[in-house]
Symmetry: C2
């Protein structure tokens, strides 16, 4: 039996996306790789799971790499559940998700399929990292960030990720030499102002496209938005305990 680390890889852009192919090529240098990834794009799926319909999961061969791959009809969170509980014979040493085509910094973490997979792995007790590049294009330059992904993953396997956390790693859209370094950050206070683009179908029925403008209300130099804007890679520890412990006392004064 191999003594190499067992690495579970997924994403939300689908198993054929250049971002996950780049991530797989880095992980092949670090361990035995099993890919369980969506058969189609699952962006902005948040932490959705499939409980009211069936799931397919098929063995697939996409390139000549040594990795084992499965294409799954479910969401990113489904892929982790399937990988850990149905496909793998033992718990993986680490789970990596991405590389996402586009940002998952600040509030985007909550909508992100990439991060939902990493968070699901952390719920299962597996060290997990989500990687995202601030470039939405299909042909984004993932080569420039491969060395950083390797470095962060190696360090995570050495140090262990704090229990109950997944790391949210975002890369600025810069060439390798222009990246200033890596910063541990907090999630910036930011939100989207939605605009609904209202249209009419050829049949005369009104429909909408959801669009929006990203608003960063946060000028703190310890936020992920600040780091990315200033040429750094941002690393945010994300937890799945969503309780706001600081407000329990205040709520205890309510007359209910």
């Amino acid at each position: 039996m191999s003594k190499k680390p067992l690495i579970l890889v997924t994403n939300d852009d689908g198993i054929t996306a250049p971002g996950i192919r780049a991530l797989i090529s880095v992980m092949n240098e670090l361990g035995d790789v099993v890919v369980v990834a969506p058969d189609s794009p699952q962006s902005a799926m948040g932490h959705a799971i499939t409980i009211n319909s069936t799931l397919y999961c098929d063995s697939i061969k996409i390139d000549d790499g040594p990795q084992i791959e499965y294409s799954c009809s479910g969401t990113p969170a489904d892929c982790i559940k399937m990988g850990v509980n149905e496909i793998l014979k033992r718990k993986p040493d680490i789970c990596v998700s991405g590389i996402n085509h586009g940002s998952n910094s600040s509030i985007n973490v909550i909508y992100s399929g990439t991060m939902s997979a990493a968070i699901e792995a952390s719920i299962e007790g597996i060290p997990a990292i989500g990687f995202s590049l601030l470039d939405y294009r299909w042909n984004a330059d993932f080569e420039s960030i491969k060395s950083f992904i390797k470095k962060i993953t190696v360090e995570a396997m050495k140090q262990g990720i704090p229990k109950g956390n997944a790391l949210n790693v975002n890369f600025p859209k810069l060439k390798e030499g222009d990246i200033k370094g890596i910063k541990i950050c907090r999630q910036a206070k930011a939100h989207w102002i939605e605009k609904f683009d209202k249209r009419k179908s050829p049949q005369g029925k009104e429909y909408y496209w959801l669009t929006g403008e990203f608003i960063n209300q946060d000028d703190g130099e310890d936020s992920d938005e600040w780091a990315l804007k200033n040429g750094f890679i941002s690393v945010v520890p994300i937890k799945f305990d969503m309780t706001d412990h600081s407000n329990i006392k205040e709520l205890n004064n309510w007359e209910i």
Copy 2:
């Protein structure tokens, strides 16, 4: 113009579910009610939003109540975005989601469509509450909990919900007189152990149903699981800042 509070109502079980019809009937006693809810069940959709396909949102009349209603093809989070940014002329005073048919306590908050709607409203700066009853049945007894829902909503409108929080309210499956009271809690440490039920389609293709067993590893008497098990209604303040601030220092020691 009415001086009554403006209340936005949604859910994840779909606009015709008995849970949301009960919630609407309570809210009609408290203010002007606008419902924007999914046209079909959206359970376990997490914080999914619809960015890669179109959305429909149609005015609909379901019963004789005074509320205004829209049926939307999107997720619960989409419904909030649509309600706040496209349908309502002013910001609602409060947003309520539910009543969910089934629990959203502990780790279920992260998979919950009901709570994603409440969290989305809190991101938009609107006080928000998600209500769930620990009874999955379509004909669950929502009458027993109406008085508590009214009390909690009235107090939330009076006190204001702490900024950046949404309340996750779960009701035990008990008759009104058997409920022991309301407890402010933290999210219990719990998780699901998944089991995939593997089957063969009539065409011979393998497929899966996701099932699982809920494991509560937490015996703290301040957790929502404890409260519900002991006959109390649980109220957990939930925040959308997912940063684990307590681990930033440790990560700063990494050699990256």
